[in-house]
């Protein structure tokens, strides 16, 4: 089922300088990573989906609804966006209030909003910090609070702009777990991310944006096999993929487990 349909989408911040140049894409339920160089239009693209910017040309439908005819507020129950910079998102004086803000705003009653908020905080491992001021948290914790704020609204579509920024090993594992849970719940999870190892392990579809256009669109193995294309887009491949290639393997490895199995001869045909 198509959840987001984008037709010939164009946008410019200044006249004559198109940041997005006519993008046409459909999004079904597959978890999707949008990758591309800094300045390629990724964040602009998701802000348009969320209705925070108005396209200069083209159409977007979210769950069948035309974005152009809706306010960002009317879209909020269906699509949530975790901002790149947590300081742009956080403004309440306790973590709990911050996470309850979204649900309350889309009309959830206070009791339910609190339940949802606590549940979301539990998911990101910050339930015990609910009474603290979010400004006292570290950058990585703030980012998790922002993720919880959107999770608590239970939108059908969640977009995470750079979810693993500032996360350590455990934090990255938490983000991975949250994304997994959301996928299980049938949500469409989209992300903008530069960590290719994370993309290879967690996403079913990869879209490369390059200078405002879609350069490639496919599953991770397909995308990460296209060495020249990635080079042209200024992108890397997962570390394990690169190791495989450097050993002369033709297969594009996406996970360490896959690589190790193959090295042990358990997947000899893969070589």
């Amino acid at each position: 089922m198509t959840r987001i349909s984008v037709k010939d989408l164009a946008f410019s911040y200044r006249p004559g300088e198109e940041v997005l140049k006519g993008i046409t894409l459909d999004f079904d339920g597959r978890s999707t990573a949008i990758i591309g160089q800094n300045g390629s239009g990724k964040t602009t693209f998701v802000k348009l989906l969320k209705g925070l910017l108005k396209p200069t040309r083209g159409e977007i439908h979210i769950l069948g609804r035309p974005v152009s005819e809706m306010t960002a507020a009317a879209l909020a129950p269906y699509i949530g966006l975790v901002f790149q910079n947590p300081n742009d998102q956080i403004f309440k004086s306790t973590v709990l209030d911050e996470v309850m803000f979204g649900p309350l705003n889309i009309g959830v009653d206070p009791k339910r909003a609190k339940e949802k908020a606590l549940h979301a905080l539990q998911m990101v491992g910050l339930a015990e910090r609910a009474a603290e001021n979010p400004q006292d948290l570290s950058l990585s914790e703030k980012k998790l609070v922002c993720i919880a704020s959107i999770v608590a609204m239970e939108p059908e579509i969640l977009i995470l702009d750079e979810p693993t920024i500032a996360q350590d090993h455990a934090g990255t594992a938490t983000v991975r777990r949250v994304i997994g849970r959301l996928k299980e719940q049938g949500k469409l999870v989209m992300t903008i991310i530069h960590d290719m190892d994370f993309v290879a392990e967690n996403f079913e579809r990869v879209i490369i944006l390059h200078r405002g256009t879609v350069l490639a669109d496919g599953d991770p193995r397909e995308i990460f096999s296209r060495r020249e294309l990635l080079e042209r887009a200024g992108l890397g491949v997962p570390h394990i993929t690169r190791l495989g290639w450097s050993l002369g393997r033709t297969k594009t490895y996406l996970t360490e487990a896959e690589f190790i199995r193959s090295m042990r001869g358990e997947g000899a045909a893969d070589r």
Partner: protein, 279 residues
Amino acid sequence: MKKIIVEHLKYRYPQAENLALDDLSFEVDEGEMVGIIGRNGAGKSTLCQALVGLVPHFYRGAYGGKVTVAGLEVMRSSVSRLSTKVGIVFQNPFTQVTGSKWTVYEEVAFGLENMGVPRKEMIERVDYALHLLGLEDCKDRNPFDLSGGQTQRLAIAGVIALKPEIIVLDEPTSQLDPRGTEEVFRAIHRLSEEGMTVVLVEHKMEKIARYCNRVMLLDEGKLIQFASPASVFSREDLTRYGVAPPVYTRVCRELDAKREGSPHFPVTLEEAREVLKGR
């Protein structure tokens, strides 16, 4: 020459119960590139702030021991005096933008203006920093109109323009794409080869392994180990400190592939290829 000397540094934030830094002692030579690793909350950012004097001068709190950077004792020197010798790039680049300048060019010049650097030299240094970080095309843009990655490059450029003897970077590539990350690491590495002393916090272990000559592992404010990347990343108990070694080290450990004549596992792509080829 020792550029950083830390002796029994202890520090506790105001109103905190535990020590954020607990009896740290170490030395860093001129031109070294040191990577600080550890789980979030281990004290990495606090240590960065202690090297530039924001700990204790800005944050206050309880302070013990002695930190000397580029010959200045931090406790006895003002932050502005220290800022002529040691620069810091904050973890969140959006925090670094002053908000008082209309263009990227002027933003990079901000620190130099404050130090009263002559105009001619100021122009040279701003141009150099913009070039090094690949920001020439953005120089006339408003600093708040930049993408996350561009803002991060701007934050680094502003500090590099100051030509500090020591540069401290707290996750300097968190918002950058893979190519941008590689470029920034190369640029910083070049500066260290030219004699600048570099201390950086980073979660991208593959980059630390590739570029840093020594790695400092912190946990709960304590210094666990300060040694070569190969030695630190080969620790069997590393994950206990909330750190995963580079992918290359992980798979080589799993395959029991050590470097010839070395007690350590490979930490870079090249080393991993060397021990795995022919298998």
